[in-house]
Amino acid sequence: MTIASEVNEKLSALPEASAVAMRLRTEQYFDAIQGMLDLFATDKELEAIYITSTIPSQSIINALEVLEIPLDHIWFVDCISQIMMSATKRHPHAIVVESPTMLENLMLKVEFLLRKNPERKALVILDSINSLAIHNNTKILSEFLHILVNNLRSHAAYTVIFSMQEYETEEIRNMLVLVSDESVELGHEIEAVAD
């Protein structure tokens, strides 16, 4: 089974409003994105909101275009492009937050996109907890995740939080245990966090 199919299968097994910590290895990154956006979100007819603090949204858009994944139901909250002072053109489906430290604004942009597209359920992908941890201390990041995830639950949205295994710390693992219902490690079975 490909990584993309595995992601789709594991997410499809979860109930609505689930919050999932997806622990990835770097080489699985684009396959996991494809599994979520092309397979899972399409099958479930979800509006995908992709929060990126790792690489600029335009880089992800370029990759999706190469993979011929339509962008009609994919939106980006990009909190890295502005801080990089990059002069690239902005895609109409990308909203920029000035800095990854403006966590409240990040929540506000997600809320805005949920309101703009109320007719479909949402999949919100946070890419990634590791890059947000570069810019924010653990306390504010835990508080942010707690509020974001619970707010998304109230919208019956799926939340997927990327964590790159190579950059995980003990603090990040604890934070993910606190806010997620499930931890998905590709190539392994789903582990129930509550256990």
């Binding site: 506000l108 805005f112 504010i140």
Partner: protein
């Protein structure tokens, strides 16, 4: 104590602002008939909040009036956020009214730099007449600060606000009065009188945290309801004013 336990049994009727975050903070909306100061420094969203309050009112069948003091309403409407829910038929149908106060001054023959007690009464009576004429249930004065510049003494400001508040409240009109103040100043208005007389005070501001500038909102006073006094971060969007809690970052001053 949780807000629910503090709620009084004979709840006052609410005027839901239509701004979900603010209605949540106020446990359902502004108690009907209250006169509320919306105070803040420039660029913090005061006018957007007020216009959204009026538009939601008009959409819900409550006639609404915006009394503009400093900026011609034609210019204001060009610069205001194009709300997705705004429908310009509300203006044509007489649900939403914009009136420029300088035009009112001119009609009353009181185009001067300082008002007397009699002129204040005349002004309040004229506003009351407008409220009656348009059957207004929601009213905004933007800004009370600009009016108060013509009222040199705090007693005159007090008289103006007391009279205005009584008149509007007696007509079942829920009102927002915009107050501009500098972030370094004390209080929430030019003379410090307005916040004492108003039934409620909603403060908007700019919070600088590690070089980031966040727009904030806090309800510091609201008669007739229990409410959150926490600080929230707001965003002005085409879907309206959105609020989320200000992150505390482990109680570090100003957040993480």
């Amino acid at each position: 104590m949780p807000p629910k336990e503090r709620e009084v049994t004979n709840e006052r009727e609410r005027c839901a602002t239509g701004i979900e975050g603010i209605d949540h903070v106020l446990n359902g909306g502004i108690p009907r008939g209250n006169t509320v100061l919306v105070a803040g420094s420039v660029g913090t969203g005061k006018t957007s909040i007020c216009i959204e309050f009026l538009v939601h009112g008009a959409l819900g069948g409550e006639n609404s009036l915006y009394l503009s003091v400093t900026e011609p309403s034609s210019k204001l409407l060009k610069n205001v956020i194009p709300f997705d829910f705004f429908d310009d038929r509300l203006i044509k149908q007489g649900k939403l009214h914009f009136v420029d106060l300088p035009g009112v001054y001119e009609k009353l023959g009181i185009e001067k730099s300082e008002f007397t007690f009699d002129e204040i009464r005349l002004l309040v009576d004229t506003i009351a007449a407008l409220v009656d004429q348009y059957n207004v249930r929601r009213f905004v004065l933007d800004s009370v600060t600009s009016v108060s510049y013509r009222l040199e003494e705090p007693e005159l400001v007090r008289d103006f606000l007391l009279r205005l508040g009584v008149v509007l409240s007696s007509k079942g009109c829920t009102s927002l009065l915009v107050s501009e103040f500098t972030p370094t100043g004390e209080g929430y208005s030019r003379l410090g009188v307005e916040e004492a007389i108003a039934d409620g005070v909603i403060v908007t501001g700019n919070l600088e945290r590690r070089g980031d500038l966040l727009r904030t909102l806090q309800v510091v006073k609201m008669r007739g309801t229990s409410h959150s006094r926490a600080k929230y971060v707001l965003d002005l969007t085409t879907s309206g004013v959105l609020l989320v809690p200000l992150l505390k970052g482990g109680s570090v001053q100003g957040g993480g």
